[in-house]
Amino acid sequence: MAEASHGTGGLTFDKTKRQWPNEMNVFGALILIVAIFEGLGALIMGQSFLFDSNDRFDSIFNEARLKIIILQVAIIGIIALGVTQVIISGGIDLSSGSVVGATAMIAMSFAQVAEVNGNPNPKAVFGPAWMDLPILVPIMVGLLCGIFAGMINGLFVAYARIPPFIATLGMMVSARGVAKWWTSGQPISFPTESYAAIGKGMMPVIIFVVLAVLFHLVMKYTLYGKHTYAIGSNEDAARMSGINVARHKVLVYTIAGMLAGVSAIVLTSKNLTAQSGMGIIYELDAIAMAVIGGVSLAGGRGSIIGTVIGALIFGVIISGFTFLRLDAFYQEMVKGGIIVGAVVLDQWRQQRAARRA
């Protein structure tokens, strides 16, 4: 009798009713874009975009171009990993490019060699002092710079309740100021051999991949990841569930800052120099990679895997235009278009989601 009153219930756990993962759509887009460039390549250039059409290599791929694409993507991709977490938590980080600039200058100044070709280093920041330091010093200094900047962002957002857009815009301007002030605008060069090894060859790609795997696991399998999604999805619900929202946000921004620091270390090591203008508009490239990869600016949705694929799409488009011999000016215009286009796509996705709900 009591059972009869439960007629509308009954539990089902239907494996066929699983949602289609959004990353698959993003991956489909990557394939499609590659195909478009292949088509244009065959049509206009008379050669293949990613495949080896001249039998120059052992493999079927055009390895040179593939390498350029992933190298291009790796350094900004490291930033995008942090930006992804910030956006998923419902925030935004406009400071990462400038944090790269400031960290590049400060970290590099602790990575200098004492002598260049037998003469004292002409670019020595601290005079003859603090040269030939162990590699751990510039790395720690770089990480701490990023962590410090990110933590300040987080504290302003979480405790002073300044909108993330404004708080990180302030950091964007200030950190760029620090980058210029550090050496009064002078570039810093001649890093130690061990420091230069960090960004040598394909090392940036390896570092990017390792960090991507690490943060994929963190976002998917740890409390930190779950609470980041929860806060971005419904901050009030997260608070009511007892999550310390403010403390968590500080952690998210701090991690994003740290990743910007890592990116700066890799970048300066690869270029063997640090300049105060380094990292300009990297924040927008990183945001574009995340949004192209399906991270929603409304928060709560997206993934590290999506961002990695988004970064590849970004790289493919940029190098695709180089492949088609488009002028650099056009490339910048197109890049601007991609960033706006990604946001428009996100808006459209949000509206569609809202209609369905």
């Binding site: 009713k17 963190v218 999550i243």
Partner: protein, 256 residues
């Protein structure tokens, strides 16, 4: 073990000059289902928020399960055994069903501060068991709840109660935004809870529902309790008279 699960004495909440709740004396027996009724702004939700630690009371005592309690936040109330379905759904749309059930008190496989590893399997199994008890129908618990119907979402919120061995369930207008069929589903869950001996406070405007489901009706008016009616001794008209202020319970004379 006393047979009273919850008692409030002189429970009061002022928001600046707004006396949203004034001197509420309230008793709930173990296994009893009580409805709280009252006009909009009568102080029902405020009463719920004081008990569940969402807000800190201005004055008064709350005795839960025999002990005076001072919950610093809703999580403490939940840990003590009070499950609440809030009027504004406290669910995260982009998480799936187990994630939502366990939000803020996740099962862990490995403790490492914020980077503790989640026990997905354990949470899924507990969720399935909890949903089984409530007979909630959800196509696949691993889908995000964004695309679920209002009724399914409300059931997910309510299923928390069945998933965690709670001592008291509080629902603030759980069917206000639901259709007929979804309302029936929620009401079925409430009946199941009654059979299982759960204590319940149900805030509702739905007279039929209240008379269908509960043992006793407490009426709030302008921040005060104005009536305490056993279901057998009253009817809809009578309750409406108390809600609108046409009548006030004998023991509450002079209060409102």
């Amino acid at each position: 073990m006393s047979d009273t699960i919850l008692e409030t004495r002189d429970l009061t909440k002022h928001y600046g000059g707004v006396h949203a709740l004034e001197g509420a004396d309230f008793v709930l027996k173990r296994g009893e289902h009580v409805a709280i009724m009252g006009d909009n702004g009568a102080g029902k939700s405020t009463f719920v928020r004081q008990i569940t630690g969402v807000e800190q009371r201005t004055r008064g005592d709350i005795i839960f399960d025999g002990k005076p309690v001072h919950f610093a936040g809703p999580l403490e109330a939940r840990e003590a055994g009070i499950e609440t379905v809030f009027q504004t759904l406290a669910l995260a749309d982009d998480l799936d069903v187990p994630d939502n059930l366990f939000l803020g008190r996740e099962k862990l496989r490995f403790k490492l501060g914020p980077f503790s590893i989640l026990d997905y399997k354990g949470m899924r199994e507990a969720t399935l068991a909890g949903l089984e008890k409530t007979a909630v129908k959800i196509p696949n618990i691993r889908n995000t709840i964004r695309n679920m119907s209002g009724g399914q979402r409300q059931c997910v919120a309510i299923a928390r109660t069945a998933t965690f061995a709670s001592k008291l369930t509080i629902m603030d207008e759980p069917t206000a935004a639901l259709g007929v069929q979804e309302t029936a589903q929620v009401e079925n869950i409430i009946r199941t809870l009654k059979e299982q001996g759960e204590s319940l406070i149900l805030v509702s405007h739905n007279m039929r529902q209240v008379f269908d489901l509960v043992d006793r009706i407490v009426v709030f008016r302008r921040g005060r309790i104005v009536a305490n009616l056993m279901k057998e001794d009253t009817d809809g008209q009578d309750v409406v008279a108390y809600i609108t202020g046409a009548k006030t319970g004998a023991e509450y004379e002079g209060a409102a």
